[in-house]
């Protein structure tokens, strides 16, 4: 107990050094918490962008189609009959569903051409599943059976197209025969999802089915639920139900998408930051212990003369350093909590930070506009324990060095 008291007194002995070391640790922890909150917010936002504009919560699809989806094949399509719809509408938390027929096409404005993804959709059902209602920059959604199209403003800009202009989509139908779809632009979108803005052209499902020669088949059905946490549980249940109708049906939840697992790369980033923090804290602590030991050589010698063992001297140093770690940790948590709080309320506008025309999409992150932080209490706990454990561990070696000093040397020659 006396040694504990001594360690505590040593802790407040050099207030400046203790404070500086603690601040370094606190700052490292603060940065980690902010970064974690930001990455969390980014992940959350990209999840929502994928769900709200591309993937919904569930996808009903032929398993073979799912595996080859990259190529947007016109094989392994499915027919959505009344039976399928009834089963789907009866699942827990069901809100809306939208069938879509996806195909690759070349978009032509008369002079130039771009590869795009075409989507044949049923307008009112699409609008129920995706958050497109308020995203129209000009015009509006078309009605079924109209030879009209909706696309991203950005894509339109690339081909110098505007509402009312006519476009031609060059496609290959089910029999590999070339065909074209002509349509008038009914509206232009700007969403938080760069993929929608840059690559997608929406057309009425019936017109697409006719042009591609696929009868009444679709690529998949997108389902929206009350909330995204229901998805995984419901997916299995619905799949079993649908397989009873047609064994080819599979149901995938949003978090099984590849785009989502890419967002999971956040873990890696976190570990990097954690490693850097570990290093900063370790260096700060080692430096502090060495300075303290050099300055207390005579005391260490005296303590040895008094019969203290090496481990007891190590104990006082290690305890002192752990104390600094705890101090820094607490300050770091407080700062971090404050930072995250600000961050969740006000968010960060990447546009203003990176210059107006750069989108996070350029970095592979489907985020546009303002980003908000998220609370992650686990990371608070994690980084705090890390800070304390690192302070503890990194002090052992220099403390051992100090405590191993020859007492005669320490008393007479320092």
């Amino acid at each position: 107990m006396f040694l504990t008291k001594l360690a505590f007194k040593n802790l407040i002995r050099h207030r400046n050094r203790t404070v500086v070391t603690a601040i370094i640790i606190a700052f490292a922890i603060f940065i980690f918490i902010l970064m974690d909150s930001m990455i969390g917010g980014m992940t959350e936002m990209s999840y929502n962008n994928i769900i709200d504009y591309e993937a919904g919560h569930l996808q009903l699809v032929n398993q073979k189609y799912w595996e080859a989806e990259e190529e947007l094949p016109l094989e392994n399509l499915m027919v959505v009959n009344q039976q399928v719809m009834t089963k789907t509408e009866n699942i827990q938390g069901y809100q809306a569903s939208s069938p879509e027929l996806n195909f690759s096409a070349r978009l032509n404005n008369g002079t130039n051409e771009l590869p795009v993804i075409g989507k044949g959709i049923i307008p009112n059902r699409l609008m129920q599943v995706f958050e497109l209602q308020d995203q129209f920059v000009v015009g509006e959604m078309f009605s079924p059976g109209e030879y009209k199209a909706v696309m991203g403003k950005r894509l339109a800009d690339l081909l110098k197209l505007d509402k009312g202009d006519y476009i031609t989509l060059l496609v290959k139908d089910k029999n590999e025969t070339f065909n074209t779809i002509d349509a008038e632009i009914a509206g232009l979108l700007h969403t938080g999802n760069p993929n929608i803005n840059n690559n997608i052209v929406y057309l009425p499902l019936d017109i697409v089915q006719q042009s591609l020669n696929v009868d009444n088949q679709v690529s998949k059905v997108i389902v929206r639920l009350e909330n995204k946490d229901l998805a995984l549980g419901v997916a299995n249940q619905l799949e079993n139900n649908l397989k009873a109708i047609n064994d080819n049906w599979s149901v995938y939840s949003w978090d099984e998408l590849e785009a989502v697992s890419v967002a999971g790369a956040k873990e890696m980033g976190n570990q990097m930051i954690l490693a850097i923090i570990l290093l900063i804290a370790a260096i700060a602590i080692i430096n502090t212990v060495i300075l303290a030991a050099l300055e207390r050589m005579k005391e260490i010698g005296m303590m040895k003369a008094m019969g203290l063992q090496r481990k007891e001297i190590i104990y006082t140093f290690v305890l002192e350093s752990t104390g600094i770690g705890i101090l820094g940790g607490i300050v770091g948590l407080i700062l971090g909590a404050f930072g995250v709080w600000i961050f969740t309320i006000y968010g960060i506008d990447f546009g203003t930070i990176m210059g107006s025309n750069i989108e996070m999409a350029s970095f592979g992150i489907p985020v546009i506009g303002k980003m908000y932080g998220v609370w992650n209490p686990e990371s608070f706990l994690l980084v705090f324990s890390f800070g304390v454990i690192v302070s503890f561990l990194s002090s052992i070696l220099p403390a051992y060095w100090a405590a191993s000093k020859d007492p005669v040397e320490a008393i007479y020659h320092s």
Partner: protein, 234 residues
């Protein structure tokens, strides 16, 4: 049985390739309760000898027996424990722990050996502090004390655990002559009251007057071993 026996103790320091013989064959017996002065000029080997006796360093050859125990038979931990329980140190530069008050510096030493509660030890600490004349200064930090007061704290710290032997290496060298006298008188007093064995070194001929026994050391050898008239054997 004598408290301390040195037999042909030699210490050779290695300075690069040069061998520096600091002790060249010390034979010495110290009885319980003796108050011994080791006198010699600077560099004669006083500190080296005290360090050997205090188990802070090991002789190059020869043997030391403390209280019936051969020191060379003890490992590091054994030596630390022997120092902790049986030997008190007083150094020229006091070596108090700056973050601790006078009271705590003394308390530290007794808490290492006595497992009684803090409360029970309080009397002991207060007593010894009063005994060395530090009444009322218990709460002061070393930097709030004069040199003489610091050395009194160091004496109290060395004595509080009631060690068998106190080693004082030039304890008065940093003090003015009046303070130095007071400190030496205090050590004599403690020796008489508690019966603690003292060995203290000095290069100041005046200081020798306080001793019962005077060892003169030159070039690492004891050149004289005189017993003063005040020395009383029991």
């Amino acid at each position: 049985m004598a408290l301390l026996e040195l037999y042909n103790v030699k210490k050779i320091y290695q300075q690069g390739k040069i061998e520096v013989p600091a002790l060249r064959g010390i034979d010495l017996t110290v009885e319980k309760g003796e108050f011994t002065t080791v006198f010699g000029p600077s560099g004669s080997g006083k500190t080296t000898m005290l360090n050997m006796i205090g188990c802070l360093d090991k002789p190059t050859s020869g043997s030391i027996n403390f209280n019936g125990q051969e020191l060379e038979d003890l490992d590091k931990k054994g030596l630390a424990m022997l120092r902790r329980h049986n030997i008190g140190f007083i150094f020229q530069s006091y070596n108090l722990i700056p973050v601790l008050t006078a009271y705590e510096n003394v308390e530290f030493a007794i808490r290492l050996v006595d497992k009684h509660s803090k409360k029970e030890l309080r009397d002991k600490v207060m007593n010894i502090l009063a005994n060395v004349g530090l009444d009322g200064l218990e709460a002061r930090r070393p930097n709030e004390l004069s040199g003489g007061q610091k050395q009194r704290v160091a004496i109290a710290r060395a004595l509080v655990k009631e060690p068998k032997l106190v080693l004082a290496d030039e304890p008065s060298a940093n003090l003015d002559s009046k303070t130095s006298e007071e400190v030496l008188e205090l050590m004599v007093k403690m020796n008489e009251e508690l019966g603690t064995t003292f060995i203290f070194s000095t290069h100041d001929p005046q200081v020798m007057d306080y001793a019962h026994r005077m060892l003169e050391i030159r070039d690492g050898l004891i050149s004289e071993d005189k017993r003063g008239k005040s020395y009383v054997s029991d």
